[in-house]
Symmetry: C2
């Protein structure tokens, strides 16, 4: 996000110095390819054994691989709110206080959404003459005041919510579903190129979130089953978008960023993806929950085939974005060049709902709290860590380690299996840095108003556009505001 | 092995047809780069998050990746005996019958070794005019009759055994240790090229087996610690060998095969490697124990950057090798071209000692027996599956499932977490094929005389060459033949 913002600034500086080509008014276009529930281990280039993602792998070969890039949250809505705002969910309000440390998102009956005071990437870009389009899943609130058009996007083709059911149930209105093959951004790219107007395309594909599906040409293509079919379809889409940029001759003016919103849904078992060697998955603050398969691609600007370690997350951008917005002349301090833009090490804060669960500083990660999922849910068959069992980590009730955090070296021990002993010199030298990072974070933290506390059936999408014409508008029930239920 | 044998034959056919360049008498050289205890997940190209193996990754980019290639055993000696003989340990004698299903190898006091009736790859190649050299770890028996010179190798620089201690203990003679930097094969390659005599180099590096070490220039280079330093040193060695082949202009006449002897030693915790997304590691018949990081490289003959699925192991070569040796005119049936040579699907048999634990047919793997390691060893701190826990799989006593095997689809479920239900149609359709494969295997199985049953301190290397000169020969104790102890 701010990555793009700041690199944009950098390019503007470049224009002044070198005389950048006139296309797109000298601006760089931005494309964010955001996968849904795709795991770090789902790409061939990240070690998926079936190697079924030739286009993503090729993107990596032509761009830079970011093996330790993090989402800001292990769940969809909060992660996406951070991506577009550059601010942690605890700041932008995408969390709940109904129960401590519970994940929350935006189902159809949610009352909250992205607050007006959050400045989203397309809003900033608009000031710089960009046109922005979101294709796919919005997920930042479905009431009119929260929809993309009211937060900087010029165009929106997709759905405000997740596509899971129940379908055709008169107690729950339908959510539009667009198969990924229809979610193409090529026409938008072509139109913007013809106009020579800089653009931001936010391609937030609907798959690979459950329930699984793939378009007909991709069904049965994967050795991995339906999940793999969906990955192959997305891989095809990525290939189409990149080849469009090449065909139009605008690859060097377009920075494409590929990532996922959270870890693979390990609880979905064979209908979910792979987090490679990492612990657990979606919904958790272990590495499997928030480390994302990330690639940046920008021919002529990013040298091909490289790997960069960033221990970077959207959280890092918070301060940068703030500095930029509050002190417009400070931008050079943060973005002298692309590398400086991306490769500044900052702590990663792993939140679950309102609870700061873990912190990464350099290669060290300290767990202040640990939790897999509740015993109650586990006994009903939900397991966020199937086949995995690490003492004090994959536990069934929230464990407080804030007085003596569980410490791991993620470079050596990315599986988070071997705790560094609290009486070791290593532990004693590292913990003060962690403590200082946590203190600084909390000292400066201004929590946003929690947006995900209240639900009301009355706010659901009972009467979507077009329902009158087909006589299918459903009656809106009386308002019944109540606390949302967040079991995870 | 037979891979090389048969591709050799193929090239000879090619010579007859196309008039191959005269170098090396028209023969193709073979280099096997065999890692020790390196895991599938230890290479960047196989998803290691720190990406510290640029030369191995480049080898893959220039060659073909084989993501489901298997060793013939989850332990060093039996795996190596299979590599050179093309026959499973149960046939070549590299197993024990002291206790059911126990792994065994060749410590210093072992009485057995590679039997004379086994025809090793260098013996076959010798008949074709090759000169063969082993550099590194032999591990097929240390008594004179078992040493490399008596089994086809013309040159041997390395150690007959593992390098682990005790060192400088008069009750246990030392084993020579050669650091990997000294284990270079470049001089041999240069000398053979100058003579234009075809060669087989078996580079069986000593690292990354414990205890860990790395040469000075590599110490501290890895973010992963000493284990990673050792990997980086090996990666450097691989780079040196491949660049030598290119520099001498003989890359197109040299097939290089990179693999490992077994899975990473997960029990060694942070001093062991990574098996990526697979279950458990060395010593086990789960995927982590036997699936190897494998690359074949042969410029001009193998197209670059490809991936091939083989569900292939040395066991496959058994029949091929036999057919070839017994019926010399049948070779074309098996090796019309390189792809046909490698990409014929055969069952994989996973043995632990004398016990057939599991079988892979196509993408399906059936566990007839499961076992991690004993409760006794586990309670002493040895764990072959740290951080992992799969019901009925990672168990602490041997469980017999031969009447109703535990079935997994390895393409979808390479972590072996989600058993296919025995009452499912899928199970019912697959199991008969598995049963047939097992029956055929057992019907044709002629077990070798077990070589790893007896130990005797008297056979240890008390008086190695040169000990007299330095007055350090140790007295040979009286013979005391007894059953070896195999706890795993």
């Amino acid at each position: 996000m701010a990555l793009f913002t700041l690199c944009l600034v950098f390019l503007q500086c470049l224009v002044a110095i070198t005389g950048y080509p006139k296309d797109f008014n000298g601006k760089t276009n931005f494309v964010v390819l955001l996968m849904d529930d795709m795991g770090w281990g789902d790409l061939g280039v990240y070690g998926e054994p079936n190697r079924e993602t030739p286009n993503m792998d090729q993107m990596a070969a032509e761009g830079v691989l970011l093996p330790d890039f993090y989402s800001a949250n292990p769940l969809c809505s909060p992660s996406r709110a951070s991506l577009l705002s550059g601010r942690l969910p605890i700041r932008n309000g995408f969390y709940t206080t109904n129960m401590r440390g519970r994940n929350a998102y935006t189902p159809q009956d949610i009352m909250g959404g992205i607050p007006d005071y959050e400045i989203l990437l397309p809003e900033i870009l608009k000031e710089h003459g960009y046109r922005s389009k979101i294709i796919g899943k919005w997920h930042l609130g479905q009431q009119p005041q929260y929809l993309p058009h009211n937060h900087g996007f010029d165009e929106f083709f997709g759905a405000p919510n997740c596509h899971f059911g129940p379908y055709n149930n008169k107690n729950t209105p339908n959510v539009p579903v667009y198969k990924d093959a229809n979610m193409e951004g090529i026409e938008f790219i072509e139109a913007q190129t013809q106009k020579s107007e800089p653009f931001f395309l936010y391609w937030a594909a609907d798959a690979t979130h459950g329930p699984m599906y793939a378009s007909k040409p991709f069904l049965g293509k994967s050795a991995r089953g339906l999940y793999g079919d969906a990955v192959i379809e997305l891989d095809y889409g990525v290939g189409q978008i990149l080849s469009t940029l090449k065909r139009l001759g605008i690859a060097e003016q377009t920075l494409v960023f590929f990532s996922s919103d959270n870890g693979a849904a390990t609880y979905a078992k064979l209908e979910g993806g792979s987090n490679g060697p990492f612990l657990c998955g979606k919904e958790t603050t272990f590495e499997g929950g928030m480390r994302e398969p990330t690639i940046a691609w920008w021919p002529g600007n990013i040298p091909p085939g490289k790997v960069r370690f960033t221990d970077l997350g959207w959280e890092y951008f918070v301060m940068v974005l703030h500095h930029f917005m509050e002190h417009p002349n400070h931008e050079k301090r943060y973005c002298i060049n692309f590398n400086a833009c991306v490769f500044v090490h900052r702590p990663i804060f792993y939140y679950r709902g309102d609870l700061l669960m873990a912190v990464r500083v350099g290669n060290y990660k300290a767990h202040l709290w640990t939790w897999a999922n509740s015993l109650e849910e586990f006994q009903k068959g939900t397991d966020f860590c199937p086949g995995q069992n690490v003492q004090n980590m994959t536990v069934r009730q929230q464990e407080d380690h804030s007085q003596q955090p569980l410490l791991f070296n993620l470079a050596k021990d990315y599986g988070e299996k071997y705790q560094i002993k609290p009486n070791s010199a290593e532990y004693k030298s590292v913990i003060p840095k962690i403590t200082a990072a946590v203190k600084e974070h909390l000292d400066h933290l201004k929590k946003g108003e929690p947006q995900l506390n209240y639900c009301d059936d009355a706010v659901m999408n009972w009467a979507p556009p077009g329902c009158k014409e087909i006589g299918q508008c459903l009656p809106i029930p009386p308002s019944n505001k109540q606390l949302c239920y967040w079991p995870h």
